[in-house]
Symmetry: C2
Subunit: 431 residues, 2 copies
């Protein structure tokens, strides 16, 4: 008889609706009201509503989780931190989503980690955030970090036996996206011979000086504004550096749709030359998957933005990796909290909930999402090259899959294009 | 008769005790409990008590200001920010003193400036804090910043017509004191030809590689640990680079007493050679003034530390620039608040109080303190050179005074020593 109460509890938990955990969850979301950001409120809010609706739908195992979503402005400087501090005096949030920008995220994640509050960011992509044993312990990254992107390069370097690289990045000294992007490459390429060149956003590009650095480098990896990329490629072409003696790459993670086929074209007198120059330029970008559910999500986003009419944001219906990320963040947290609660933990044990988001694969809105043991999402990336030199059009020629570290060469892949040729190592061919 | 009330008020304010303003002031001080810091609690707390006692002494115009001083730990990472956030929910402090470390100070000053709470730091010496029109609007710096120190170099470069410099700094990637120190020099030397070399704290010094950079540089300015400085000077001496073809400086701001006469001496077989090498090394350090009051302050500090016996801190009685700074910070705030209140403002108008600390000269504990229009203390620096090559002893040979930007050459100054000589510009003399 001594065991009867335990048995009762077991029976109850196995048969009764207690299986569906119920809880109120206060979510604080930091996104910019300013629509110039790809992850602005107007873009992200509909995705979060969509996620909430799916989670509370009848039959969903998460229908007992009532999410109360509050928004705080993010200005990519300090606004999110100030807002967090002021909103947390009475009650700390159970979950923080965002901020995306590196410096602002750093401050928020430090404080949240100190409090044990989980943070899921679709940004915070810089290398430093990978140190989860310290001040970023509660951070889960739902978009692939710059180091994940950099794996695409290490895979290519291994495949093609390249040894040296020049990293050219534009540094605005503010958000520093390109600095952080190539920092990820630098971080992973310790075994190779790497040099870096920083290009100021404010000053005109000194192409001559920059190209001096190219002469003894096999691979040039750039992250800059499209106009600067074109300037470099035109100058390199004129110096006959685009004949295969050097590989050119640019990294274009978030504007993949605006990049590509037409980016050499400006309607100026250099278009024809630029098209030829860009034949030597390859682009690393995010691999986007599309599944049927994603279409309805995408349609819903457009509708939602149109209906609200509150925000004048023309492309807000377009779903980008950040919008996807915020959606999937809600889902991932729900899965983890649900599991934690079934195991007897409460939402206030942030460390326990965070741990259950890591080392987990689940179905996100656009496809499978894998979060590694360090709480960072695995990434898949595409390599694009010009496949029609006459038309100047691009195709995806290879994919890199982060989960298994494989490089998949597609039919459009031309090995010749990626074979380094001998070149004169003198500087005599400088004009 | 219409003017009578105004007259009454004037008479009252001129004659009555209302002149002595009364107010409770909550001060939050962030200093490390860890005594390995020169600005630890054990060192700073007695100086603040001393300042409080002077301020409330009978006859002091500030005796009506009742300072309530609370301490928060500072770990040079995030502790001060976390503490500030948690302590400010109920009541924000009226004044924050510290933190000293750059990164920790940045976070605290941003939040305090957002709230309009004045911060006086004896640190936060990095160049970036000079931007008071933005996120550091409430920061007053009571110790001379690295840019102020750098003025000593620009004055010397102008005086001796030097044009090029190599900045060699040790970077621990944590507090980064030497990085920030020479960043100040870099910031001010825009017109000169400047190169930088970063030396890792964790890795052994690659002297050969470092000296390759010296060959076409007139002046080498270093900020590194004493052992690394000695290693570089020994290597430079062996390569005959210490014959006047190149000027060598190191910057040693805070350990001036431990530097100087004996720093070439290690008791090893290289001492004699090191003494010869160090004849070419000049040191820029803080100019310390001593006035009679300072002696009694200094004695009081020692006594106070001995009496408390709470902290095992052997040199805590020694007064350094940080300890002075915290003392003078209290004084400066009292002067500014007193003036603001006499003009009808309250302590809660932090911007008004801060403004009254700037562009002001007052008597600090060790001498006159001038805060410039940007809220940054002017600095005086000394240049030390070896004046007895046999004994290997140093003397101050010149002083730089920040207030008027003058370079004062002392009798011990030897112009010959600072005259650049021709040298072979080939690399053939590398061993």
């Amino acid at each position: 008889m001594a065991r009867a109460p335990t048995l009762c509890v077991l029976l109850l938990s196995a048969l009764s609706p207690v299986l569906t955990v119920t809880e109120d969850v206060n979510v604080l979301v930091f996104v910019p009201l300013n629509d110039s950001f790809l992850f602005s409120y107007a873009r992200v809010a509909p995705a979060l509503r969509y996620a909430q609706e799916r989670l509370r739908a009848d039959g969903s195992p998460f229908s007992g989780l009532r999410f109360h979503v509050h928004f705080g402005d993010s200005d990519c400087v300090n606004a999110a931190l100030f807002s967090l501090v002021e909103r947390s005096c009475a009650h700390r949030p159970d979950l923080i989503l965002g901020p995306v920008c590196e410096y602002e995220a750093a401050a928020v994640v430090r404080l949240a980690s100190h409090w044990g509050v989980p943070v899921i960011s679709a940004g915070a992509l810089a290398t430093g955030f990978g140190a989860k044993d310290g001040e970023y312990s509660q951070l889960t990254r739902i978009a692939p970090s710059y180091v994940k992107m950099a794996q695409t390069f290490t895979a290519m370097f291994a495949h093609f036996s390249w040894r040296s690289a020049l990293l050219v990045f534009e540094d605005d000294k503010h958000e520093r996206n390109c600095f952080f992007t190539l920092e990820g490459v630098y971080h992973l390429m310790g075994e190779h011979s790497i040099r870096t060149v920083s290009v100021s956003t404010e000053e005109p590009l000194n192409v001559d000086e920059l190209l001096q650095n190219i002469y003894d480098t096999e691979v040039v990896i750039m992250c800059m504004a499209a106009d600067k990329i074109r300037e470099v490629m035109l100058a390199a072409h004129r110096r006959q550096l685009t004949n295969g003696g050097c590989m050119f790459f640019n990294v274009e993670l978030f504007n993949a749709s605006s990049y590509g086929n037409g980016s050499w074209r400006r309607g100026d007198e250099h278009d024809d030359e630029a098209r030829q120059a860009f034949a030597a330029l390859n682009t690393v970008t995010l691999l986007r998957t599309v599944k049927p559910e994603f279409q309805s999500f995408s349609i819903e986003m457009t509708k939602s933005v149109q209906q609200s009419r509150l925000y004048d944001c023309q492309d807000c219906g377009n779903v980008n990796v950040f919008v996807e990320g915020f959606h999937d963040a809600m889902l991932l947290y729900a899965i983890a909290l649900h599991e934690a609660m079934k195991n007897g933990y409460s939402k206030s044990n942030g460390t326990e909930v965070t741990a259950r988001m890591w080392n987990r694969t689940f179905e996100g809105i656009a496809g499978q999402v894998s979060v590694d043991v360090n709480g960072d999402r695995e990434g898949d990336f595409s390599l694009m090259s010009m496949t029609d030199r006459e038309a100047g059009t691009y195709e995806v020629v290879a994919n890199y899959f982060g989960v298994n570290g494989s490089l998949q060469l597609l039919p459009a892949f031309d090995p010749e294009h990626f074979t380094l040729r001998e070149r004169h190592k003198t500087r005599a061919d400088t004009p």
